[in-house]
């Protein structure tokens, strides 16, 4: 734990006089302070020659500690908090119904499926729909050069009323609020996420609704395995950063993952067991043999039944 002296720089109240007083009660660090009987300490402060200043010092240290800790929340408060989190519609009605409204703010949702099962299509459609219907930005991290603004414009044009004369302006506004970034290695991704976290903390007006990462697995595949735990550590820390972003700043985070061969020829989601418990929601996509119809089912969800499946078509 940090010595009290470390706080002196930022908080002038914790001066040498205060530290000397603390030292006389064997308090040298913040930890010592925490385990000391504070009422007794306040009583001793009364007997000092400048009791007010010392008391102010004690309150100051307490308020610093309070700021460092997250406040306690009870179930009712949590419920209220949860009710404020919105479902963001993906633009595909069937999927919205399956998820009781769409992608939830504060959740990390994982889309997993074999190649050409529609993962990127759902990402593109959700990004365009959310940028259109909600204020705030959509950030799109792309590792497979598969971000197609043309396809997004197509999705948007489908949803427009043809009589609307301002189609072009709306298109420009919507497309301008989708931010694309290419990432080609896991370290660049971690850098970006740290930077985002930092920016969100420093300026509150920067509003982002959604963060899409397509695809996470292709960034992690080159570092995972091979005897070392290094790759695992990178994967899990990426996962927690995403969760932190989602939780603290109310983003809806979507990541995509691919399938690998499992036992007996069946395929299973990549990235293994330790990734499994990171996303809040896991959705499995599959495509019926070379047709346009696909199905989506819930593999994991905090409060919906798993195994529910709907079919949908990508237009």
């Amino acid at each position: 734990m940090a010595p009290l002296e470390a706080l002196a720089l930022e908080y002038p109240l914790i001066d040498s006089n205060f530290r000397k007083f603390c030292a006389s009660h064997a308090i040298y660090t913040v930890e010592d302070f925490l385990i000391h009987d504070l009422y007794a300490l306040a009583a001793f402060a009364e007997q000092d020659c400048s009791p007010d200043k010392l008391k102010q010092g004690i309150t100051q240290v307490l308020s610093i500690l309070d700021n460092q800790n997250r406040p306690w929340l009870n179930g009712l408060e949590l419920l209220k908090d949860a009710e404020q989190k919105k479902y963001l519609s993906t633009g595909c009605e069937r999927i919205d119904v399956l998820l009781q409204g769409g992608l939830r703010e504060g959740h990390v949702t994982e889309l997993v499926g074999p190649s050409s099962s529609g993962k990127t299509q759902i990402c593109l459609q959700a990004a365009s729909n959310i940028a259109k219907n909600y204020s705030g930005m959509v950030m799109y991290f792309d590792s497979g050069n598969s971000f197609s603004p043309k396809r997004m414009a197509q999705f948007l044009n489908q949803s427009f009323n043809p009589d609307n004369s301002e189609v072009d302006q709306i298109l420009e506004r919507v497309m301008s609020s989708i931010l694309h970034y290419s990432v080609f290695d896991i370290f660049a991704l971690l850098d970006l996420l740290h930077q985002l976290l930092h920016d969100f903390k420093s300026q509150m007006c920067f509003q982002v609704r959604m963060l899409i990462l397509d695809s996470l697995s292709s960034l992690i595949a080159p570092v995972l395995g091979g005897g070392g735990a290094h790759g695992h550590a990178l994967m899990v820390s990426t996962g927690f950063l995403l969760k932190e972003l989602a939780h603290e700043h109310n983003l809806s985070v979507v990541v995509t993952n691919h399938m690998v061969a499992g036992e007996a020829g069946a395929s299973k989601p990549a990235l293994g067991e330790s990734w499994k418990n990171i996303p809040h929601v896991r959705l499995l996509l599959s495509r019926y043999h070379a047709t346009d119809s696909r199905s989506i089912s819930i593999l994991k969800h905090p409060y919906l039944d798993t195994g529910k499946t709907v079919e949908f078509v990508i237009m």
Binding site: G144, K150, Q169, S176, F184, S218, A261, A270
Partner: protein, 310 residues
């Protein structure tokens, strides 16, 4: 700015003003649900009002600049859309194939082409390496090609044949063609084939997956950074699924995610067909093509039709 200048219905405007929202800036800090309560309107209406207000306020533009500076190297989808519309694709010399590909092979993307031996993968590779050099006056990309040959299948005689045929075609359309042109940028990298070195001498399959994954990202980076097309040629393998053996492209499931577009070449009777298996913006469709003495051309015997196979 005044609320009265917003393009919304008079009823909404009246409600806004009577609830105390007179200026646009007063609307910017309000949440949709708050507006629903204050004005007694539906949520959609509230969202629409807020959208119009934020758009009109012009704060979007300033915000945009700031947002862009936050994440270095980020681009908005709108800028990318405009950029994409002006980009030129590399033609395959087969108009049916170009049609389903949206004009040809696109730069900034990794395109994987695979099929059984003898279907014409290398032919397409050589054709692209020639076509990339078509000068910009004739609607080409005017770039150089890098051909990475891992199997020893690049035939310089064949490349000469295709190049001569291509030059003839150009002269036919543009009589005043200057003889020499200077391509400076590399616009296509063809790897023929990506499979060969990964199909042997690998005891540790996990290592192979890691190497393939790393290579895929490097190729993606190359394509994006230098605005060039990466074309990977792949072989086929059989895969046991749902009780039967089926032909799929080699290198396994995780490699199937490594490319932006995937094109599978196959025989349909006597005719060669190309099928778009995966793409972020093209519909899956198939088209016939032929390998002639001049290179890749339209299939002569057929009408352009859609065939479901594979």
């Amino acid at each position: 700015m005044e609320v009265s200048s917003l393009p919304i219905s008079t009823a909404q405007r009246g409600k806004l003003i009577s609830s105390g929202y007179t200026s646009i800036s007063s609307l910017l800090s309000v949440s949709p649900s708050q507006l629903v309560q204050d004005l007694n309107i539906s949520e959609n209406e509230a969202l629409e009002i807020l959208r119009v207000a934020s758009w009109r306020s012009g704060s979007d533009k300033i915000d945009r600049e700031r947002r862009l500076s936050i994440v270095n190297g980020a681009q908005t989808a709108w800028d990318m859309l405009n950029e994409e519309e002006s980009s030129i694709r590399i033609t395959t010399s087969c108009s049916n194939l170009d049609d389903i590909l949206g004009g040809g092979i696109s730069c900034k993307e990794v395109t994987e082409i695979g099929g059984v031996p003898g279907i014409g993968k290398t032919q397409i590779g050589i054709q692209l390496a020639v076509n990339v050099q078509i000068p910009s006056d004739c609607g080409g990309v005017e770039g150089k090609a890098i051909y990475i040959d891992t199997e020893g299948s690049f035939m310089v005689e064949r490349a000469l044949q295709i190049a001569e045929a291509c030059a003839e075609d150009i002269q036919e359309y543009n009589s005043f063609q200057t003889k020499d042109f200077h391509a400076c940028h590399i616009k296509v990298v063809v790897v023929d084939s990506i499979t060969f070195h990964f199909r042997q001498d690998f005891e540790d399959m996990a290592l192979r997956t890691r190497l393939l994954g790393g290579m895929a990202l490097k190729l993606m980076n190359l394509a994006k950074k230098f605005n060039l097309a990466v074309v990977l040629l792949n072989q086929v393998t059989t895969k046991y699924s749902e009780g039967s053996f089926q032909l799929t492209l080699a290198l396994g499931d995780s490699w199937s995610h490594a490319s932006t577009n995937r094109i599978i070449l196959f025989w349909n009777g006597d005719e060669r067909y190309a099928y778009i298996d995966k793409s972020p913006y093209m519909k899956s469709a198939s088209a016939p093509y032929a390998v002639t003495q001049k290179g890749i051309r339209n299939s002569t015997s057929s009408k352009y039709k859609r065939v479901k196979l594979m």
